[in-house]
């Protein structure tokens, strides 16, 4: 596989968890969904459960007229109603000493990940990244089956008849976006933005991975002397000492296709 990141943003299916009779292990081994036939539908990833339901015309678009009133609120339907499976497949043929991470840049609110029959739990929190080392569970030469069961926020709350700022405020007990219970400018979001709401990707590296570089500049002599300070984390995933050559290069495009190093 080529070193680098590949977004997984197409080919996703989704289904309400209560309408799926198989376990995560079965979905990613013996009984994967075969296409967008009931209860499965084409999914929007990244996006929310409600975005997928709107895409499939299961519910009307809540931002037109008073259509939001026609969509059942999670407070009345229960959390299970907006608990959804998301499913996709991907290829990743690793060579020797290559490693693969499965990355989620944002899930609201918690999830179980199943890949080729292996289960991993993604902890709570809308604003956190998850990175799973899946090197040892990928299938060489054939599709990998990925199913993600996404649970809504723990405290979706109820919307008082008179509405109001943040509904009954229960959503504030979670680490999630708060406007979803409605505000003076916004109707309540019925699924509270449950879903795989930000990028999903796989990243392939060799034995050593670069993590979260930090760039800082400092200025002296009225901006004539400037220093760029760079700190990185490095992870050696191999079972041997890695002798690394670290290269940093700063370029600027002075004309089209001509860069100054």
């Amino acid at each position: 596989a080529e070193i680098g990141k590949t977004p997984l943003d197409s080919g996703w299916l989704a289904a309400r968890s209560t309408e799926v009779q198989f376990t995560g292990t079965q979905l990613t081994t013996t009984h994967p969904p075969t296409g967008p036939s009931s209860p499965w539908m084409e999914a929007l990833v990244p996006g929310t459960v409600l975005a997928t339901l709107v895409k499939n015309k299961v519910v009307p678009d809540p931002f037109y007229g008073l259509e939001n009133e026609a969509i059942i609120d999670i407070a009345d339907a229960g959390r299970e109603y907006y608990t959804f499976w998301f499913f996709t497949t991907f290829q990743c043929d690793l060579s020797a000493n290559q490693h693969c991470d499965l990355n989620f840049r944002g899930i609201n609110y918690s999830a179980e990940v199943h890949l080729n029959g292996h289960r991993m739990v993604l902890p709570k929190g809308m604003f956190r990244r998850h990175s799973l080392n899946v090197t040892d569970i990928l299938h060489p030469d054939r599709s990998n089956l990925l199913a993600v069961l996404v649970h809504p926020p723990d405290h979706p709350g109820k919307i008082p008849p008179q509405g109001g700022q943040g509904g009954d405020h229960e959503i504030g007990k979670d680490v999630a976006t708060q406007y979803v219970e409605g505000w003076d400018w916004m109707a309540p979001i019925r699924d509270r933005n449950t879903g795989i709401w930000d990028e999903v990707s796989i990243s392939v590296t060799g034995p050593v991975k670069v993590i979260d570089p930090h760039l800082v500049s400092s200025f002296f002599d009225n901006y004539k002397r400037v220093y760029l300070h760079t700190t990185i984390e490095l992870e050696n995933k191999s079972a041997w000492i890695a002798e690394c050559s670290l290269n940093i290069q700063v370029t600027t495009e002075v004309e089209e296709s001509i860069c100054l190093v």
Partner: protein, 237 residues
């Protein structure tokens, strides 16, 4: 000057943090907010090669040289900003998110943020009841010169006000809040448009969260100390 190679040994199955010796620039093109100058962006690339293997991983990011300072003005109670030493009159737009169903497309970000720049704005404030915005949002703010005032997930209306008082101690799990805050800072910290982190909207976060956020986001002491010639300390790296 702007190309450097270092050698590092990393023990098996372990992580380490490494700081490059500082790269020196003479009069680099500075990044300016919309209306004050160009939004000069450099491309920073980091490549790690492993002996006996070859290229193992790489990373790159647009980076802008800029210095942003701000303080609360004693006379007016307002926050005053300077960019690269120059005072700037802030003309800002409030922002929640670009789509309530979180279909956050690059095209939509580009259009919305260019629209703010075309309106002669120079700042967007991301409200604490909405999202911490995504790297694609920040990319276009970098590109169009829009400073970003980014709030964490606390609002007075949901955390601390009302009758009965709503969630006076904020979210139930403070450790989770702080974990998410740290991870979000790591995700966004290299964008030149990122101007200010704020604890929440119209509310100070619970004491322990507020203290921890201030601690995480304080200026590293090395950046406060320079010698008599204005140079960073010897052991800067």
């Amino acid at each position: 000057e702007h190309l450097q190679t270092q050698h590092v040994s990393i023990p098996a199955r372990s992580r380490l943090q490494y700081t490059f010796p500082p790269l020196f620039f003479y009069k680099p093109h500075l990044w300016w907010p919309n209306g004050m100058g160009k939004q000069s962006l450099y491309n920073v690339a980091i490549i790690v090669d492993v002996k006996g293997y070859g290229e193992s991983d790489s990373w790159q990011q647009h980076f802008g040289f800029r210095k942003i300072e701000s303080h609360i003005d004693g006379a007016t109670g307002g926050r005053l900003f300077k960019v690269n030493g120059e005072p700037i009159f802030i003309r800002g737009g409030n922002w929640i998110l670009s789509d309530g169903l979180l279909r956050l497309s690059k095209k939509r970000y580009s259009t919305d943020i260019k629209f703010h720049a075309d309106m002669n704005f120079n700042m967007i404030r991301c409200w604490g009841g909405g999202l911490t915005e995504r790297p694609e949002f920040y990319y276009y703010c970098d590109y169009y010169g829009i400073l970003v005032w980014q709030e964490f997930w606390i609002t007075g209306d949901v955390d601390g006000r009302g009758d009965p008082v709503s969630n006076p101690n904020g979210p139930l799990d403070h450790d989770l809040f702080l974990f998410c805050a740290r991870d979000t800072v790591k995700l966004l910290r290299n964008h030149p448009s990122l101007a200010l982190w704020v604890g929440g909207n119209e509310q100070i976060p619970p004491g322990d969260i507020n203290a921890a956020l201030k601690d995480y986001l304080r200026l590293h002491p090395d950046f406060e100390s320079v010698d008599e010639n204005g140079k960073p300390p010897e052991d800067f790296s």
